[in-house]
């Protein structure tokens, strides 16, 4: 019991040190029924490292992003998300059943549905040149690449669902900088919108074996009045488990089969 208290205090202290900006009042972590999670005893074991000393971020993880409500999931109070008026109106007009994911289009960043995902640190002859973030969502958004070789963003990126991501380490924190998103995905099932001016910065820090914190900067002057800082926490799934195959489009009864029209790009 003492060990757990000590670990919790250490965790809290470390978390405070990590924040260079106002600490979120509440770190919301939704517990997901159905995906077995790591035991409390295993979760507080030390952060594992790769042979070259880099922190091992692999996972698989569950949580660590937005799901139903990015404002709440990210630790803000209701109304705190600084949406511009047009974006607020749009959010209110959107219905859950119309979101692109119901027709198996990708959810993108920082969305994680309640299914596992992992950070595949890809070593090649040139060292850690790529990181692939792999999602169990399969055809509805399976992989995302982060270029770790020092390259910059293209001057004029083609808008894509996942954007163009470059990453680097700051000590043990993986920083991922992404631009070039399209404006089609929803940040959450309630329909929080964005534009293709979106620029995100994710800072992933593994606090212990079982916990990964995502400090997320959302910078989109097209839909928000100022940059937003959110915090999400992911939990390691039971370590003996892996990503399963999931094919969203196979027998998707929710979308067209369920009588719902796929979302048209709305303005």
């Amino acid at each position: 019991m003492n060990r757990l208290i000590a670990a919790a205090v250490a965790l809290g202290g470390l978390a405070c040190l990590l924040h260079a900006r106002p600490l979120a009042q509440e770190r919301v972590q939704f517990i997901v029924p159905g995906t077995p999670q790591i035991s409390a005893v295993d979760a507080i074991k030390p952060v594992p490292r790769l042979p070259d000393g880099k922190v091992d971020l692999t996972g698989p993880w569950v949580g660590g992003g937005s799901n139903a409500d990015i404002e709440r999931d990210g630790g803000l109070k209701p109304g705190e998300l600084p949406l511009l008026p047009w974006a607020q109106t749009l959010r209110e007009s959107r219905k859950e059943e119309n979101e692109p994911y119901t027709t198996c289009l990708p959810m993108s960043v920082p969305r994680v549905n309640p299914y596992p995902w992992k950070i595949a640190m890809t070593y090649t002859g040139k060292g850690l040149s790529h990181i692939y973030i792999l999602h169990e969502t399969g055809d509805a958004g399976a992989h995302r690449v982060v270029y770790m070789d020092g390259r910059g963003h293209p001057a004029d990126p083609v808008p894509t669902w996942w954007g163009h991501s470059v990453g680097w380490f700051e000590d043990d924190t993986l920083v991922i900088d992404t631009v070039g998103y399209n404006d089609r995905f929803w940040f959450d099932s309630r329909g929080t919108p964005h534009t293709d001016q979106l620029h995100t910065i994710e800072r992933f820090t593994r606090l212990n074996f079982g916990t990964l914190v995502n400090e997320f900067t959302l910078d989109d002057p097209g839909a928000f009045s100022r940059p937003v800082y959110l915090t999400f926490t992911a939990t390691h799934i039971r370590p003996d488990l892996d990503l399963m195959e999931f094919i969203c489009l196979e027998d998707n009864q929710y979308g067209i089969a369920g009588g719902f029209a796929p979302a048209q790009p709305d303005r």
């Binding site: 792999l134 399976a142 690449v145 892996d242 195959e245 089969a257």
Partner: protein, 283 residues
């Protein structure tokens, strides 16, 4: 280069620059479009499929590189390595597919219903089918030595295959999936992938060559030099074939700097419902 590539992208289309490859030993496929050049595109001469002919990566015939720990390095953007038009193109000259009568009948039926090919409905292509678009081996290093290998595809469902490299065996009871359950290991410099647990829904190729849930595949991937990756696949399916057989396909390394592009099949798919075709999966 990026701007040129960017200008070729249309929302639901792919703009990588290689013709499809089905280079087995069975000879060039008539429908394969590998034939002569028919003009020039912005990035080079254009083949019969209307796509730019691949540029060879420099130094392609040099010995394959290795990772610091001595493992062969499979890193690179590859195209080919599996059947596209016809798995029979990977057979040795003179061989034919040992199809059982029921499987042959199913294949004949499928040839009259080409629109039933699941990949046209953005369903997975399974194993060992490939596309004319790039894929990559992702060696996932963790604190425990590489435990997983992923094969990440640009085309089809833009997803990944998961190969368990940690010595585990196949589960006793298999849940039939599109990509099966794959375990892998290195046999000297050859990556051997053993897979079972497939469903029977995907087609091996555009011809509709079938298989059953008894399918067991063994892929042997060998990087013979920097620019060439050979895939020798043994197909063992007593439900559809009278004996196991082996097909060989070659993958070619793409020009350095090329990357997997984003491709979302189900976004604006005009072929399926929008194209007026009956969805074979709608019961």
């Amino acid at each position: 280069m990026r701007k040129l590539l960017a200008s070729l992208v249309v929302v639901a289309c792919i703009a990588t620059v290689v013709p499809l490859l089905a280079q087995g030993r069975g000879g060039a496929g008539g429908q394969g479009g590998q034939g002569g050049e028919t003009g020039r595109g912005v990035l080079g001469p254009v083949g019969a499929l209307g796509q730019e002919v691949v540029r060879r990566a420099p130094g392609s015939t040099e010995p394959a590189p290795r990772l610091p720990d001595g493992t062969i390095d499979l890193n690179g953007l590859w195209v080919g390595g599996g059947p596209v038009n016809s798995i029979a193109q990977g057979l040795k000259k003179g061989e034919t597919l040992p199809l059982l009568p029921a499987a042959k009948a199913l294949m004949d039926q499928r040839s009259t219903r080409e629109t039933d090919d699941p990949h046209l409905w953005c369903m997975p292509m399974g194993v060992p089918r490939s596309t004319p678009y790039p894929f990559r081996f992702v060696q996932n290093y963790t604190h425990k030595k590489p435990t997983h290998m992923f094969i990440v595809h640009e085309g089809n469902i833009h997803s990944f295959r998961q190969i368990f490299m940690d010595g585990r065996k196949h589960p006793a009871e298999l849940d039939p999936t599109w990509f099966g359950h794959s375990i892998g290991s290195f046999d000297k410099d050859t990556l051997v992938i053993d897979s079972v647990g497939f469903n029977d829904k995907f087609w091996f190729d555009r011809q509709g060559t079938p298989h059953t849930e008894q399918l067991h595949t063994i892929e042997r991937w060998t990087r013979v030099n920097v620019g060439t990756l050979t895939n020798e696949v043994t197909i063992d399916d007593p439900g559809a074939f009278s004996r196991p057989f082996t097909v060989t396909f070659n993958a070619r390394l793409q020009a350095p700097g090329d990357e997997i592009m984003e491709y979302i099949c189900q976004e604006n798919n005009q072929y399926g419902v929008a194209g007026g075709h009956q969805n074979p999966f709608a019961q």
